[in-house]
Amino acid sequence: MSVTTEPIIAAPRTGRIDPKYLRSKGSSGSFEMLTWLFMRLSGVLLVVLIFVHLFSNLMVGDGINGIDFGFVAGKWADPFWQFWDLALLWLAMLHGTNGVRTIINDYAERDGVRFWLKMILYVATVVIIVLGTLVIFTFEPCLVDGAGNLLEASPAFCETR
């Protein structure tokens, strides 16, 4: 009979997984479960945060033509938008980093390659989150030149200060 040439494939979860197919020893089960949950919770928040971000920056007023230094200064004069963009920065970076981490784990088969790709990813993530956070909270909208006069690019509200 020809059927005898077909290998019999055991049902999933039957018996133990051969140790050579396990990439890491020990249990990282709860960490992976927490990242799985984080992707869903942050995902829902990011839909709201990003849709409002895109609508308020690109759809109303002059849209993309209205974006310049003064536009950013006007937005960040309001703590509401500072914290909106802060939430956007942190959640999007962590969500994206975990997504790319998953992809690296899936496709980089050699241990060394997988390790270093993730190290590069984590360094980039920390740099971008720290840089972005500092920019939001150390931003000075009303810049003056050496003589104390407001720069031309300053938003209109600087005149009244």
Binding site: I67, A73, G96
Partner: protein, 135 residues
């Protein structure tokens, strides 16, 4: 055993079988690709916004490169990736947490695609008319 052999043809010698997938696989592929695209744009976007700390001129010069018709088409592509990732992500959440999720995952993908087309059509009309309409 005979059922198993008819359900899946044996692989030709030296070649495996290729799973080409259905709605579930292709939405997964689309979610990965759009996710990576969005992530790399996000890195660039934080860096270009960080130029407000350098000088108004530096920020305006770099942001000005986004403000032309060629880039506007790219921006529509980026927003298309974001909106697909957003709607399909909500679908994934429903598949995971709603008891009817696995039963209706295909119908939900078609709903995602219809909503995606409608949203991108509306966005494109507004964004491209701003970009091509001049200042």
């Amino acid at each position: 055993m005979s059922i198993a052999t008819t359900a899946q043809a044996p692989a030709k010698s030296g070649r495996g079988t290729l799973y080409r997938g259905n709605e579930g696989m292709w939405s997964w592929v689309g979610h990965r690709i759009t996710g990576v695209v969005i992530f790399f744009f996000l890195l660039v976007h934080v860096l270009d916004t960080a130029l407000v700390r350098v000088s108004p001129e530096a920020y305006d010069a770099v942001i000005g490169t986004y403000q032309n018709p060629v880039m506007a088409v790219g921006e529509v592509g980026l927003v298309a990736a974001i909106v697909f990732h957003a709607f399909n992500g909500l679908r994934i959440i429903l598949v995971d947490f709603w008891k009817g999720g696995t039963k209706y995952h295909k119908q939900m993908l078609w709903a995602v695609l219809i909503l995606w087309v409608v949203t991108i059509a509306a966005f494109s009309i507004r964004h491209l008319s701003l970009a091509f309409g001049g200042h």
